[in-house]
């Protein structure tokens, strides 16, 4: 059997040329002779255990030292609380995923946002502010929702990348307006000072991606240009 396009001889029983994907017409179909089995290897991703252990020890030591210094000097936490909650935030974002073989973005991104909310809540309470419920929580909550949705779409939806990225950028533009709206509500600042610029920036790139998704030649050109 030969490929009519490439001119190469093919293995018995193949349905398409492996080089050009031209269908092979065989009047006497034969069983395909296989040179490799179907078994796929297990995925070998590994947890970074030495890194996780080292960073955990560093974070614990830093927390204990901060706590000891603050209690010794002031008899209470004083500025140490910021350091300890900051370290906790760092730990959740940078160290926790290292313990897992395959840290899932859709799980860790909401956890990271929750840790960030906790840190901000501490700052709010410590400074006697009243902006957590009206500003920080809605902003962090919306950010968690948008980023988790984006990760899930990229992970579980095959294809349609320009539409997903374009849609994400449009939503991101809208999110900046929302942030300014909550800022206006909480702190009484003037509305539309900066968010319209970011909306215009994100929106135009997002719209371009949506259009590129609809035009195959433009899409292919972009894939070639931005391949990494």
């Amino acid at each position: 059997m030969y490929c009519v396009k490439c001119g190469v001889k093919l293995q018995e029983g193949v349905e398409r040329c492996p080089l050009c994907r031209t269908p092979v017409w065989n009047p006497e179909p034969q069983k395909e002779s296989r040179s490799y089995p179907d078994t796929l290897p297990l995925q070998h991703r590994e947890a970074d255990l030495p890194g996780a252990v080292a960073l955990t020890v560093i974070c614990c030591v830093a927390s204990i030292v901060t706590l000891t210094v603050c209690l010794k000097l002031y008899g209470r936490l004083q500025w140490g609380g910021y350091v300890i909650f900051g370290l906790l935030l760092f730990y959740v974002i940078a160290v926790l995923p290292r313990w897992f073989r395959e840290p899932r973005g859709e799980v860790f991104v909401p956890i990271d946002h929750a840790a960030a909310a906790l840190f901000v809540l501490y700052v709010c309470l410590k400074t006697g502010g009243h902006w957590f419920m009206s500003f920080a929580l809605p902003v962090i909550g919306s950010s968690a929702l948008i980023s988790t949705a984006m990760i899930c779409l990229l992970k579980y939806v095959k294809g349609g990348r320009p539409f997903i990225l374009g849609g994400f950028l449009l939503v991101l533009g809208g999110f900046t307006v929302l942030v300014e709206f909550f800022e206006h509500l909480s702190f009484g600042t003037e509305m539309f000072r900066w968010s319209l610029y970011s909306l215009a920036g994100f929106g135009s790139v997002g719209l371009f991606l949506l259009i590129a998704g609809m035009i195959p030649s433009l899409r292919q050109g972009m894939r070639r240009r931005f391949f990494f």
């Binding site: 190469v8 492996p18 290897p41």
Partner: protein, 422 residues
């Protein structure tokens, strides 16, 4: 008894440093027998080779200043082959063993982490494994000639030596090379590698090469360069193109009379710059052949060896912790390791085997994995009058393979294609 340990040879030092979470540098040598392989007998053969090839039954360990190889007490277990060759060798696996023996029907394949050996060393191990297997299975007597070693003798020190250290020039040649054009495409899911094997008659290939007045390696490199140039032409205007260079490993054993079974080869980036004009196949053949001949001289290679050996002798670098060395080596590799070539063509020349073994072996192949920064590679081995050209890729697009093999057909070389992708 304390475990034996070995320093990594000069070429091997780079491979642990550049390993990634989804990529490691490995290669495979395989042989198809005329009958299905008996896994239990093969396991006995694998175990029997341990005392004769101690530098292959090792684990990769991390010292304070350098990586090193330590004798492994764990057995190398014969495994069933997978849907694609050269599945990822994780650092966890390398802590147990640095080679794999895989079986599928009548095929015995051995995959090596590159820090252990180069293609030639790997071939010696495979041939001895087959010889031992045939002795155990068929009860035949195989003379210790060609690549076959006496399993009862102690491994001579020259088989375990780092031949780079012996043969370095006093002055190092420069590493600087212009970045070459790199192919790209849509990555396969889960690290799948597509292997396309082109089987051609060795005599036809030789006749064609001689028609152009070059060697087989130079002819294949020229056809490959022509295919890559055509692909670059379709992608970029001429003024924005990059040189197209084929990375060709040179076995230094013949140049320096070494008998080492560890790494002792260096690569040359040979090619042309398409910005200066179009090239016919004849011109590509001539240019690549002459550049290869002019570069692969003992003097020039000694200068290149010195460029790799000298940093090892620098006291500051020697005292740097292994993690710092990893960062430095990774940066050096990124700058000058793969950037100078567009694709590898690694050709293992004829393997001298005892006549009696040839009756039992149908074919032999050599496969190198895709590089870290470019997705296609090519390896060649001849056996029993046929040449097996293995093109591997970790992207979906088969455009390079199509152009390359179609061009060979145009040159009058009949090509039979096999592929692991269905």
């Amino acid at each position: 008894m304390p475990k034996k340990w070995y320093r990594l040879d000069t070429a091997a030092l780079i491979f642990p440093a550049i390993t990634r979470r989804d990529w490691s540098n490995a290669f495979r040598v395989s042989a198809c027998l005329r009958e299905d392989v008996d896994t239990q007998i093969l396991q006995r053969a694998v175990d029997a080779l341990r005392p004769r090839f101690p530098s292959y039954y090792v684990t990769l360990r991390k010292g304070v200043f350098w990586y090193y190889l330590e004798e492994s007490r764990e057995p190398v277990t014969v495994q069933q082959d997978y849907a694609y060759p050269l599945t990822f060798m994780s650092s966890r696996e390398l802590k147990h063993n640095c080679l794999r023996v895989l079986v599928y029907r009548n095929r015995i394949a051995v995959e090596f982490f590159h820090s252990l050996a180069d293609g030639r060393g790997g071939s010696v191990y495979l041939c001895n494994l087959i010889a031992c297997y045939l002795k155990l299975k068929e009860g035949i007597s195989i003379p210790c000639e060609g690549l076959i070693r006496d399993l009862n003798e102690t491994p001579p020190p020259e088989e375990l030596e780092d031949s780079f250290l012996k043969n370095a020039a006093e002055l190092a040649s420069g590493r600087k090379e212009e970045r070459s054009y790199h192919l790209h495409g849509t990555r396969e899911d889960h690290g799948f590698k597509t292997l396309t094997t082109g089987i051609v008659e060795t005599q036809t290939l030789l006749d064609t090469a001689h028609r152009y007045g070059v060697t087989v390696t130079a002819l294949l490199a020229a056809v490959m360069a022509e295919s890559i140039i055509a692909m670059q032409n379709e992608e970029k205007p001429r003024r924005r193109q990059r040189p197209v260079k084929i990375t060709i490993p040179v076995d230094l054993r013949r140049l320096y009379g070494s008998r080492t079974l560890r790494n002792f080869s260096l690569v040359l980036n040979i090619g042309v710059d398409p910005r200066f004009g179009d090239y016919t196949l004849e011109e590509l053949c001539r240019s690549i052949y002459h550049e290869l001949c002019a570069s692969a001289t003992p003097q020039n290679m000694a200068g290149m060896i010195a460029a790799n050996v000298q940093p090892q002798k620098n006291i500051v670098l020697r005292l740097a912790p292994v993690s710092v060395k990893n960062l430095v080596m990774d940066a050096v590799y990124r700058r000058s390791g793969e950037s100078g070539g567009s694709l590898n063509i690694s050709n293992i020349t004829k393997l001298p085997l005892p006549e009696i073994m040839l009756r039992y072996i149908e074919r032999m192949e050599f496969i190198i994995g895709p590089q870290r920064s470019y997705p296609n590679n090519c390896s060649v081995m001849s056996f029993g009058g046929k040449t097996y050209i293995n093109m591997i890729r970790n992207i979906r697009e088969s455009e390079l393979e199509r152009r390359f093999f179609s061009r060979l057909v145009e040159l009058g070389i009949a090509v039979e294609i096999e592929c692991n992708r269905r």
